[in-house]
Amino acid sequence: MTETRLARDAKVVAVDARRRWEEAMREAKLRDAEFTTISGAPLKAVYTPDDVDLDYERDLGYPGQHPFTRGVHPSMYRGRLWTMRQFAGFGTSAQTNERFKFLLDHGQTGLSVAFDFPTLMGHDSDEPISEGEVGQVGVAISSLADMETLMDGIPMGKVSTSMTINGPAPIMLAFYIACGENQGVDPKDLRGTVQNDILKEYQAQHAWLVPAEPALRMIDDVMLYCAEHVPQWNTISISGYHIREAGSTAAQELAFTLANGFEYVRRGIAAGMDVDIFARRLSFFFDAHVDFFEEICKFRAARRIWARHMKEEFGAKDPRSCMIRFHTQTAGVSLTAQQPENNIVRTTIEALAGVLGGTQSLHTNSMDETLSLPTEKAVKIALRTQQILAEETEVANVADPLAGSYFIEAQTKRLEDDAESYFAEIEKRGGVVACTEAGYIQREIHRAAVAYQRAVEAGTKRVVGVNCFVEELDAKPEIDIHRIDPEVEKEQHERLAALRKRRDPKAAQRELDDVREACRSGGNLLERFVAAAHAYCTLGEIAGVLREEFGEYREPQIL
């Protein structure tokens, strides 16, 4: 048959071509470089059909269809562009409220709240331990009163708000719900996300409150309460971002994030919830690092792994339970203090990886974040970067445009396999909670961080301005520094003192007693927190009860 002979001839030609190419490669003079991903995974010089063993229906499918490798929506960005969501927060609630309005005025489509460290750790601004930290890396929110100022003039029934907070996440969510109620908004109409991902706090970001078991119980309480009362709320944003920023490889970010996600699902099912009720309210948050292709593959692999496990391991029937919807932030760690304007370019590449990887929302870092909090000008450039990608480049017209590339598919599979190996290892070590308490995950991340640092110092990984193309004169960059006025701390002290005078002390005490009682009886804590919020109990007071009842988390020593 002609066809068969043609196919056979083609094969002979291909074999011959390959042989000639291999020969040419042996003779070629190559750059003195390590040909690996930024995570250190080896790369071939070229990928061919031999590197891909793909069943289209099984492994890729169409956008919006299992296993969602190609994206979670059938129309992807033709239906709706990604949400441009810049993380912001500093100083007092009034200052952040102004920045929010500035961002909304410039076309941002969702809010994202950054809190200061005292708030993240469940302390009021006027506790001694908060000294020097109030309003520094985010906004200080010590009570419902601060939340009311933060959201003043912003229609809470219309915007979606993401709150990056974990240890005290249920308390902050209670402030938000109570604030909405005071604005006259039914909790059913509130939309947004609370990060509430405590496992990665122990592993990487380190803003925790109580030990793992009571913390995980509170997460169940949030899922249960929101399923009934705040149904549009994303109850956990399972985050790889901080794992990656702490130094992990792409494969580790993928593996540890999804392993954490599976743990929340297991706990939810064990608490008696229907997986198809709560799983669709889980969302994800990944890093977009500067290794463009590895990142795109990571996003694709994440969707496929999650879909498969949800369906096959956890018996999810609703396709929405199997979809990873995720937020992406460009990599803070990739930015350099040297020649900071170059960071605009890095951020652009990373943002494009997020978009080609099919993200649902995106934060682009500002060029000056290695120096201080971003200035307004830098934030605007970062937002404009997204708008240029969305409006000018035409990249949003086609879903998963890199699918079918031998390289992309092979690397997507490689990341999936690496993640599966980690899942097996974690299982062998007693599960993700045991691995975290023993410091296994922290040690893996630390090892990768040191390896990368070593590679940069040895020059095998290059960073422009740091170990190549260094400019001696940039010790003092000509860039504005955004400083937090020390008055912020004083102002917060005064606000809190006034609040404690103004509120009904008996009602506040009664609510705190109820919180304590629920800690002991197993009653839903989020419900108690909402009541306590309305009585203007402060964050530190409520978290204080939790610390007394549950104890404080102690990190394992890994060094």
Binding site: F117, V137, H206, V466, E555, I558
Partner: protein
Amino acid sequence: MVERKIRVLVGKPGLDGHDRGAKTVATVLRDHGMEVIYTGLHQTPDQIAEAAAQEDVDVVGLSILSGAHMSLFPRVREELEKRGMGHVLLTGGGIIPTDDMAELEAQGFAKLFGPGTPTDDIAAWIKSTMEARWENEEVQT
């Protein structure tokens, strides 16, 4: 003559959870033959100074990325002085604007390091500074 080992305390004052830099530097200093004690996260200035005194270290290195350096770094220095540890070589790093670095250096911090500093440079600087100090001590005694 037995070679004297440099003893270093790496501390994370305040509530800042960013410990990648501190842990990386701690590991590298250890690789350079120093004895390194890492305090762990969320330490008060008081706790750090106490640990430094207990361990009788030669060097205290602090790391802050949360912007609280202007209040917490000087507090650590005060606490060290209270314990008769004013002689330790005081250093640190993090997201610290250059103006602040200059001010802290004027207050008694020997040197502060910003993002992108090669860790080997930090190790080399500690080594040469300590060796110079010890040589000086020997000359004086």
